[in-house]
Each structure stands twice: as structure tokens, then as C-alpha cells.
Symmetry: C2
């Protein structure tokens, strides 16, 4: 069976060497004028400094968690945790680094070629480094975990779990794999929260004074916060997004593998006569499927980069890369299912109701669901459709109605994606049991490499526009980068659909594994929400994402406020700034964003790690089970609500700026109202929304890792044993 | 046992005759000058016309539902439904009527006496009519249902459920009682939704043009929407609130009774040898407890009305009435538990872990939880505490940060009340099983009469202030009514805590009964959220309150927009209005609010009734079970979030108006930003929030009534039977 691992390793090597090739290619391109180089260098230095500082804190937390993990569970889990955090950390760092090289080269290419297609290629090449690193490093770590620590098959055949020195019993493979996933999640959490606060504090600060008070355009070099704003795009939208999707990717694969392990053990305990071989195949399936996906993505990316004739519509070109990758993944994914499960007995015991093709069908359902959820997000947030157009018209009536209408839009938009999710759960379950639900999540993310490449292309283009503006390039250049940027907004909306959809499904698979971990092996798996303890957990759990969101919004507002004060101070004390005779002090603004983000990210990030463990030690595993389901369900709602409301406000503002409403344009009262909407939406869509899927998965993973400990040692159990 | 019903009937008669007495006393008071009489008449005519029109639609829907109910379940349930709707309709109508008489008499008394205490008494006397009617009519209907249709004890002893002509089997007593509760819920739904849209459309319309554009104060007679705004207080805050709490009251009692019935049957089926007598006692307990509560409330109300020396702080006086009522209820409630359960065997089978006192302790837990949740709401929304003060300060930085800060405040405020709810569920369950959870809900609402009286006092005072302003009374008079009004805001926040807390607990009790209704009698009761069908239901269900909220907000915005257009038109076409030389056309504004509310309320109101039934017939009872738990959990969050965010924006604005922030006051940019916050918060706190508890309970009750039908006939079952 291990010969199949060659395919996986090949995929990893292909992705990473393609990434290296693109990295070097981008670096060899010309940067343009000295001013452009200076600006790009300032952005790069700011971004690198922030990430370096953030990683220092992140890795000290990771180390502490690893030590605790090594003590209370196993050293293998601790090593895997470190490995996961290093893999994710590398992907984020390299991908962000190249983004800060690519941005200026995109502006320069736009200037030199005056051709959209050529410019798109540069931006996409830059983005593809992040995409390929995400896929490559994630799978590399997984291969290492699999090959070094193995499946713990000896334990399987004897149905034995290991018991460590504090008397806690656990299954080695799921524990190690959870450790790996947790490592990835922790990096994602810090990058998303830290980057999200950074980028929105800078953005809001720049907008609140620059646009609203001084009435200077976006990215104007006279705005002291403008470099910080562009740094924010890199640390939030590039590094944050990359580690977010890496986490989702690993979450969906590992939750499927862990689940397979538990399903198998449970079937064995129920007297089914199963061979180890089936389990190996079920664990290999997601790994092989995503390897196919990664190779397909390389082909898709190459098909765009090495194309001689680009269309004039970047959206089409980018979509073609995605379609190529997705198409190849689905077609060849069938072969994986065929090769692994064809002719294998006893599939029905594991819930495969349509034979060998079952997991493939479930994965395909995931792909379809992800696409549909993405399109629903596009419908609600794009100015091509009614909801956002109506929102833009509400701006004519002032900021209050703009906000009201946007809140209503966001709330209404929750229904359709949830119906899609609900239906895909029902169908995936019918086709392939709970393993099918996990495979649907895996399917959604199987071509993550190209998704991340396209998503990263967005902020790179955004930055390129900023550099063009700041270095006073031709308006035509700015037009090209603006076209690129606006396409990025749409692709980002679709990407968010995949992130939250897969996050929800993966969290559910993790929860099933959680239940298996503390229930007696072989018992029927029940999380009875009518049990008072579980119900209480669910109610408290549902409030957690709200608390977390409120804290994040406040953190952004607090940091933005400091930025506003600084920008106002500079305008006041350096009167030459607004005439363009004096240079603003960009550096102080960068420092304010950095310090604000670092200071504010700790409490919310730790919340997700500490709360389930604390509740577990007090109320025990049933309460935490309720907590997880409650927070998962309400987290999904908040993610959709904030993402769509924020996206619609942003695009509604752009709709007005484009002059689509007669008599309104930049500077009109309607535009002012729309800017208020956009400002309110900023932390919602770029800080709160993207953190939600990580939040619910980190809670699930932490619980899964620690349940064997607090199932044995908790206050409620202690009281019961004292009373009884 | 029926001799105990005398106590219940006595309580009903006492409450209703006290209501009649207060009604007549208020009507005999003097109305003041001719202008005042005119304004009051205009408000009264507008309110009555709206309610009459609304009731016409409401009762046609009720009739349709009753006919369907009679056909598919039992005629008794249909009759009970009609009875419930009539009882609730009467309470709402009478209470609102007297509020429109009392308002002008409050202004007049303020003018004549120049004494806060005397004025408070008039307002409270007016409010007490609503309170007493709510308690009296609700319990009257319940007594009728109990005495006329009985408990169906014949069926109990033989464990037989009735089977109707379409082959659907159901238990007569729970079905009839659910019908009664559903009737109350439907009135509440229409009154809350219709009234909520009406009042906020008028309020937002009046504010958006009046305050923001024309810069005239609230309730200025030059504002054409001002009468409509005052009508809105009566149809939304008086009639809507009254029928809302009546619904909660009946929901909490009936859910406990129905649950007792199911628990009893289940114990019987499990071979426990129980006597019918225990069931009778468990069903009587909540009825007797609330009767004691009602008598206690009469004493509490009388203690205020007939007091000779009022303090200068109305808050204290009103609180004293509540404390008297709550204190007597708890003390004498103990006697009820003592009398009913002392010495009764087999209590432990029903989950009474602390003997006869168990249900009393559970009820007391409910009272404490309600008070704590109310105080948390006060903490987050009152300008005496940090959160709202910080929100007010955010207004200095513009409307965007005001909104952002308010959203963060609302989201953060969800955690604490949910923890209280979670703990009370755990404790109530430990003490008295699931019956205990229902009794906690019942306890929260046992002194509903005084709660509603105090709550209704608020809008009456608000109206009195409006009338004083419009008829140009002395500023000193306005000051008195303003003091009364601001106290009303605080009491309203506490009242909301009770409504949502009890709503959540009652919905859970209803859900347990729902599960009993479709599971085989005697089987263990499980709603396994890890079952794919139930999980899918929960995810879709959690999105429903968001959809419903979005629709409501949009409905208000739509109606408000029409109002804005009309007010602008009048200012434009009748130039004499702003000089005060010409009178505005109030009537057209009233019509716009009426039509807007009536037109917009249908779809969201019907949503709650139709969705669970539709899903039941398609996906079957397990999916609907998930739907209910999902919507309950997310409904709680939205209720708390919207209520607290909206309340804090409102009070933050008042804080600025009071001049507490140096350099800011009415008309300052900070005040403008605060007004935007208040306007955004209006539909959240007064339309969306208060509808949430009705929404989740109406879904539960509809499902409970129809589950016996769709458990037998549904698409999924059909497909399964065709395939198998």
C-alpha cells in the first residue's frame, strides 16, 4: 500500500518545486522606477517585521501548548503540533514574502505592457506561490506524520488504546493527527486574527480621516496610513488567508481520517469482522484524492501562466484555471475511488451505500455545494445583482438606512447557504455515512491550491494599484490594476463560501470523532441535545462566536481609533502633507497597526483554546459536546452574515463610485453614507467572518485532543462520585 | 381536586374586576385642555383603526388555521385555538384602549399636580389594566379549556390515544392545550410584527426627516409623522407587548402541563405503577402557582395605587410593586408545592430529586434567572454603566464607529445571559427533571401581571410626553413625563430579559413534548444532533431567525422610506408647517404606517407557521426536531444581540443629549452620529428582538400540533417505504 504514497510525495514535490520556480521567476522581473521600489520596500519591510513579531508570540504559545500536550497525552502529538505549526508558518511566510515582491512588479508590468492579460499573469504567478505552498507544505507535513508515526495498526487489531502515565487512555494515530491539525489551526488563528485586526485598523484609520475628513482618494500618498493599509493587505489578506485555507485543507483531510479510524473501531467492537486493509484504504483515500487535486491544480495554474493568448476578461482566465483544476480532480478522483474500493468487501458496514463510488460521490457533492454556496455569496454581494443594487440605492437616504438595509441583507443571506449545507449533509450521509460528510468537506478543498492562488492574486493586485497611485503612475495603469482588483473581490466572495462550507462539515466530522473519543467503544453514538447538560452547553456555546466576534470588532475599532488620532495629528502638525510639499510619517502608522494588532489578538485567540478545555474540566465531556455543536451552528451564521453584509456594503459603495446611480458619485452625500456602510462592514467581512471557521475548528480540535483527559478528570464527575 | 380550581377562578375574577375598576377610574379622570383632547383623540382613533384592521386579517388567518386543525386533528383543538386568540385579542384591545385614554390624563395630572408621584400613579393605573387583563384573560381561557375539555383521563389509564378519521393518533389533552397556546401565539405574532413595523416605521420616518433634516425636536407638532409615532407606541409597545407576554405566560404554563402529561405516560409505559392523581397534581401545580402570583400582583399593584406617600423616584416605587408581588408569589408558592406534593409517593420517578419542594425550587430558580438576565440587560444598555458610556463616546468619532461599537456591544452581551440560562437549565433539571425546566419558565412569568403593568406604564408615559409637547404645555410638565419615560426604558430592558429567558425555557419544554409526540410511548427520549437529518434541520433552523429578522428589518425600512417621502412632501408642499402657521396632515402619515405594517407583516408572520409544517411533510419529524432546536438557539442569540445593541444606542444618544459629554449636546456632530445609531437600533430592539421569543415558540407549538400528522405522512417516509 505504501507504494501509493509515491503519488502523494510526487504531488508534494511537484507543487513545491513549481512554487520555487514561480518564486524565482517573479523575483527576476523588473521592479520599475526608484519611487516604486522605495514604496514596495517600505511595504515589504513593514509586513515582514509584523509577521516576525507575530510569529514570536505565536510560537511561544505553540510551545506551551506542545509541552502541555506532551505531558498529558503523548509526545508524538506534541511533535506533530510543532510540525503543523512550522508547515503552516512556512507557507504563510513564503507566500506573503513573494506577494510583497510581486505587487510592484505587477504595477510595473501594467505600465510597460499596458495589457491586462500580461499583468494578470504576473499577479497570478505571485499568487500561485502561496497556493502551491499551502497545498505542498500541508500535504508534506501530513506525509511525514503518516510515514513516521504510522497508523498504530498494532493497537487496532487488539482494540487497544494506549494509556499514558496519568492514566489517560487514547488512540495514538487520531491523537497525533489531531496534534498536527491543531498546529495548523493555531497558526491560522493568530494569522487571521492578528492580520485581520492589523489590516482593518489601518484601512479604517486611513478611510476615516483620509476619505471622510480630508477628502483625499484611497491610496493617496498624502495619507500617512496608506503604507500601513497596504502592509495590512499582505499580512491579513495574503498570510491570513493562506494559513486559513491551509488549516481548512488539513482540517477536512484529517477529520476524515480520524473519523474513519473511529468508525472502523466501532464496527469492530460491534462484532463486525473487518480487515485492517479497509481502514488503510479509507485513510488513504482523502490523501490520494487531494494529491490528484494538487497535480490538477499545477496543470490548471500552468495552463494559465503558459498561455500565449489571454482573453481581455481576467475573470474568465482565472475561472478557466479553476475549472481545469476542478475538472481534472473530479475525473481522476473517480479513479482513486475505483482503485481503492473496487471489489472491497464490507463497504456497506462503513455506510457506503453506493459501492466503491460512494466516497467519490460525497466528495463531488462537496465540490458542487461549495460552488453553489460561493455563487450565493456572489449573488448577495456583487453589484451585478439586486440585493447590492438595492443597498446602494438605500445610501441615497442616509447612513442609517444604509446600515439597516445592509444588516437585513446579511441576515437574509444566511438561509440559502444553510439549506445547501443541510441538503449536502443529508445526501452525503445517505451515500457514504458520516465518512461521506467528511469527504464532502475534503472534496470542497481538494483543489485548494488553485483557490488560494486566485484568492492571493486579489490582494497582490490591490497592492499593485496602491503602488501605482502612490508613485504617480499613469491613470491608465491604475485602471488596469483596478480591473484586476475588482475581479479579486468576486473571487474572494466565492473563496469564502468554500472556507465556511468546508469548515462546517469538517467541524461536524471532528465532533463525531470527539464523541467516539469519550464514549465506550462500540456504543451507539448519540449527542442528545435534550440532555440538560448538553443543551446547556449548546446554549452557552452558541453565544461564544458572538462574544468572540464582539471582541474582534472592538479590537479593530480600538486600533483604528489610535490610527485616526495619529493621522489627524500628522495632518495638524505637518501642514505640508496635504499640499504634497512634505512627506507624511508612514512608519509611525505602521507601528501603531502592528502594536495594536499584537496587543489585541491575544485574548480572542486564546479564547478558542482555553474555553473548551476549561468547560471540560468543570462540566465534563457532554457539556463540551453541546458547546461544540452550539458554537458550530452559530459560527456558521455569523460567518455568512458578516461576510455577505460586509461584502455588499463594499460593493455598494463601489457601485456608487462607478456613477451607476445618476447624480451620485464620489463626494456626494449618498457616497458618504455608502462609505459609512463600507467602514462598518470592513471588520465584519475581513476580520470576524474569516476567523469563524478557524474558531469553530480550533475549538473542536482542542476538545478532541483533550477529551480523553477531561472525560476522566472533571468537577462534575468528581461531585457525582463524592455524592454516590 | 376540583375544589382547588376555586382558587384559580377567584384569582381570575379578582384580576379582571380590578382591571375593570382601574379602567373606569382612569376614564373618569380629567383630560385637560381642548388641544390635548384633540391630540389624544387623534392617537386613539389611529390606534383603534389599525388594530381593527389588523385583527380582521389576523382572525381570518386564525379561522383558516382552526378549520385545518379541526380537520386533521380534533375539533376541540380548533375551539381552543379560537378561544386562545379571543382571550389574547381582548387583552390586547382593552389594554391598548385604556392606554390611549390614560396618556392624556397623565399629561394633565402632571400639569395639575406638578408632582411626579401623583403622575406615576395615573400612568401605572393605566398600565395595570393591561397587566391585569393579560393575566386574567390568559388564565380564564386556560380554566375554560381545563374544565370543559378535561384531562382526558380515561385515555390515560388505558394508555390510549385517540385516532381521528385520517388515521392520525394523538393525545386529546395535550392537543387541545397546544391549540389554546397556538391561538395566543398567533395573536402575539401579528400584534408584535404588525405593531413593531408600524411603530418603527413611524418613529424612523419621523426621526429621519424631523431630527436629521429639519432639526426639530422629537414630538414636535410641526412633524407630520408625530401622531403616527405616538399611535405606534400604543399598537407596538402596548398591544404588542401585552399579547407577547400573554403568549409567554400561557406558553410557560401549558408547556409544563403538556410535558407532565407526556412524562407521566412515558413512566407508565416503562412499567412504573403510578396513580392518575400525581399527574393531576403536576398539571394543577403551575395553574395554582400562577394564581397565587396573580393575587400577589393585585396586592402589589394596590400597594402602589393606594399608597399615600410616593417617593420622588418612580423607579423605586415601581420596583416596590414588583418586589411585593414577587415576594408573595415565592412565599405562598411554597405552600402550593407543600399542599400538592407533600407526602405524595413516587415523586422521584418524575425526576423530583428534592421531594415535594422540587418544583417550587425550580420555579424560584426561574425567578432568580429572570432577574439576573434582566440586570445583565440593564448593565449593557443603561447609561449608568461602562458599555453604554463607551458607546456614547464612540459617537465623537462619527457614525461608523458608533455602529461598529454598538454591534460589538450587542454581540459581547450574548454570553452572560446564556451562561445564566445554561446554569439554570442544569440546576432546574437536577432538581426536578425536565418538568423543572418548564417550571423555571413558569416561575419567571408567575408575576407577569405586575411586569406587564410596569412595562405598559412606559409607553403611556412616552405618549403623555408627546401630548405635552404637542399641546405646548409647560416645559416643567414635559420634564415630569420625561422622568417617567426614562424609568420606563430601564424597566423595559428588564422585562425583555424575562420574555426571552422564559421563551427559551418554554420552547425547550415544548420540544420535549414534541419528541414524546412522535416517538413510541415509553422509548428513551433522544434528539441526537449527530443524526444527519436532525443536524441538517438544526443548521437550516438556525438560519430561520436570521431570515425572519432580515425580513422584519427590511419591512420596517420599506415602510419608513414611504413615511420619509410623505414627510418631505408635506414640508415641501405646505411651506407653512415649519413656521407653525399651517397644520401638517397627520392623517396621511397614519395611513402610511398602517398600510405599510399591514402589507409587510403577512409574509414574516406566516413564515413561522408554514415552515415547520412544510418541512415536516417533506423531511419528517426528525428534521423538524433539528429545525426547532436550531432556531431556538439562534433565536435566543438574536433576541439578546438586537435588544442590547438597540437599547444601548438609544441610551447612548440620550446620554449625549443629557450633556454628560462636555462639548457635545443636541445638534453636535457626535449627537448626529448617535442619532444614526439610535435609528439603526430602533427596528432591532423594538421589532426584531421582541418577535424572537414568539417566533421560536410559535414554531414549536405549530410543530407540536401537527407532528402527529406529518410523522405519519411525509415524503421521506414515503420514499423509504417505496424503496424498502
Amino acid at each position: 500500500m505504501n507504494v501509493l504514497m509515491i503519488l502523494v510525495i510526487f504531488a508534494v514535490l511537484l507543487a513545491l518545486s513549481f512554487a520555487a520556480f514561480n518564486y524565482l521567476t517573479v523575483r527576476h522581473m523588473k521592479e520599475g522606477s526608484e519611487t516604486m521600489q522605495e514604496i514596495a520596500a517600505a511595504i515589504r519591510v513593514g509586513a515582514t517585521a509584523f509577521i516576525r513579531y507575530e510569529y514570536r508570540i505565536l510560537y511561544s504559545v505553540v510551545l506551551v501548548v506542545a509541552v502541555i500536550l506532551a505531558i498529558v497525552t503523548s509526545w508524538q502529538a506534541a511533535v506533530a503540533l510543532l510540525l503543523g505549526s512550522i508547515m503552516s508558518g512556512c507557507a504563510g511566510l513564503i507566500g506573503m514574502k513573494i506577494a510583497t515582491y510581486a505587487n510592484v512588479r505587477v504595477s510595473n508590468r501594467a505600465q510597460e505592457s499596458r495589457n491586462i492579460g500580461e499583468t494578470v499573469k504576473v499577479a497570478f504567478r505571485g499568487g500561485s506561490v502561496m497556493g502551491l505552498c499551502v497545498g505542498g507544505f500541508a500535504l508534506l507535513g501530513l506525509v511525514i506524520v503518516y510515514l513516521v508515526f504510522g497508523l498504530g495498526m498494532d493497537q487496532i487489531s487488539q482494540l487497544d488504546s494506549q494509556i499514558n502515565w496519568i492514566g489517560v487512555s487514547f488512540l495514538p494515530f487520531p491523537m497525533t493527527l489531531s496534534g498536527y491539525a491543531l498546529g495548523c489551526s493555531m497558526v491560522a488563528m493568530f494569522n487571521r486574527v492578528g492580520g485581520g485586526i492589523y489590516t482593518k485598523a489601518a484601512d479604517m484609520g486611513a478611510d476615516l480621516v483620509g476619505k471622510t475628513e480630508a477628502h483625499i482618494p484611497e491610496d493617496d500618498p498624502r495619507n500617512p496610513a496608506t503604507i500601513a493599509d497596504n502592509v495590512g493587505d499582505n499580512v491579513g489578506d495574503v498570510a491570513g488567508l493562506g494559513s486559513d485555507l491551509l488549516e481548512s485543507f488539513i482540517g477536512s483531510i484529517s477529520s476524515g481520517m480520524i473519523l474513519a479510524y473511529h468508525l472502523f473501531l466501532s464496527a469492530l467492537a460491534n462484532g463486525q469482522n473487518l480487515s485492517d486493509d479497509l481502514l488503510r484504504r479509507m485513510i488513504l483515500f482523502p490523501m490520494l484524492f487531494v494529491s490528484i487535486g494538487m497535480i490538477a491544480c499545477c496543470i490548471g495554474i500552468a495552463s494559465l501562466l503558459f498561455r500565449s493568448h489571454m482573453s481581455s476578461d481576467p475573470h474568465k482566465d482565472l475561472n478557466s484555471a479553476t475549472y481545469v483544476a476542478a475538472g481534472i480532480t473530479i475525473v481522476f478522483g473517480f479513479l482513486v475511488a475505483f482503485g481503492l474500493f473496487r471489489g472491497v468487501d464490507q463497504l456497506s458496514i462503513m455506510g457506503f451505500s453506493l459501492g466503491f463510488a460512494s466516497p467519490w460521490i460525497a466528495a463531488a457533492i462537496g465540490v458542487v455545494a461549495g460552488v453553489v454556496i460561493g455563487f450565493i455569496a456572489e449573488y448577495y454581494t456583487s453589484a451585478d445583482y439586486n440585493p447590492t443594487i438595492r443597498l446602494a440605492h438605500a445610501s441615497l437616504e442616509g447612513s442609517a438606512l444604509t446600515i439597516t438595509q445592509g444588516l437585513a441583507l446579511g441576515m437574509k443571506s444566511c438561509m440559502a447557504p444553510c439549506v445547501v449545507l443541510a441538503l449536502s449533509i443529508i445526501i452525503a450521509y445517505q451515500v457514504c455515512g458520516m465518512y461521506g460528510v467528511a469527504m464532502a468537506a475534503m472534496g470542497m478543498l481538494s483543489f485548494v491550491t488553485v483557490t488560494v492562488s486566485v484568492d492571493t492574486y486579489g490582494p497582490i493586485s490591490d497592492n499593485a494599484g496602491g503602488i501605482a497611485e502612490m508613485s504617480g503612475l499613469d491613470p491608465e495603469v491604475r485602471e488596469i490594476t483596478d480591473t484586476l482588483d475588482s475581479v479579486g473581490n468576486t473571487t474572494a466572495a466565492i473563496g469564502k463560501g468554500f472556507a465556511i462550507g468546508s469548515g462546517a462539515l469538517a467541524a461536524l466530522a471532528l465532533m463525531i470523532s470527539y464523541l467516539y473519543s469519550y464514549n465506550e467503544v462500540g456504543t451507539e453514538l448519540v449527542l442528545n441535545i435534550m440532555d440538560a447538560m448538553i443543551l446547556a452547553g449548546a446554549i452557552a456555546g452558541a453565544a461564544l462566536p458572538f462574544l468572540f466576534s464582539g471582541m474582534l470588532i472592538e479590537a479593530v475599532a480600538k486600533a483604528a481609533r489610535k490610527m485616526v488620532d495619529e493621522v489627524r495629528r500628522q495632518f495638524r502638525e505637518i501642514p505640508g502633507i496635504l499640499d504634497g510639499t512634505e512627506k507624511p510619517d508612514y512608519k509611525t502608522c505602521i507601528e501603531i497597526s502592528s502594536k495594536g494588532a499584537i496587543g489585541e489578538m491575544r485574548v480572542p485567540s486564546l479564547l478558542a483554546v482555553i474555553v473548551p478545555v476549561f468547560c471540560g474540566f468543570v462540566f465534563g465531556p457532554r457539556f463540551v459536546g453541546g458547546l461544540l455543536i452550539g458554537s458550530t451552528i452559530s459560527g456558521i451564521m455569523i460567518a455568512i452574515f458578516t461576510g455577505n453584509a460586509g461584502g455588499a456594503w463594499d460593493n455598494g459603495k463601489k457601485y456608487i463610485e462607478s456613477g451607476s446611480i445618476a447624480g451620485c458619485g464620489k463626494g456626494s452625500p449618498a457616497h458618504d453614507a455608502a462609505v459609512v456602510g463600507d467602514t462598518v462592514g470592513d471588520p465584519l467581512k475581513d476580520t470576524v467572518g474569516p476567523c469563524m471557521d478557524i474558531f469553530i475548528k480550533i475549538m473542536s480540535t482542542v476538545s478532541l485532543v483533550s477529551v480523553s483527559v477531561f472525560a476522566k478528570y472533571n468537577l462534575v464527575a468528581l461531585i457525582v462520585s463524592l455524592l454516590g
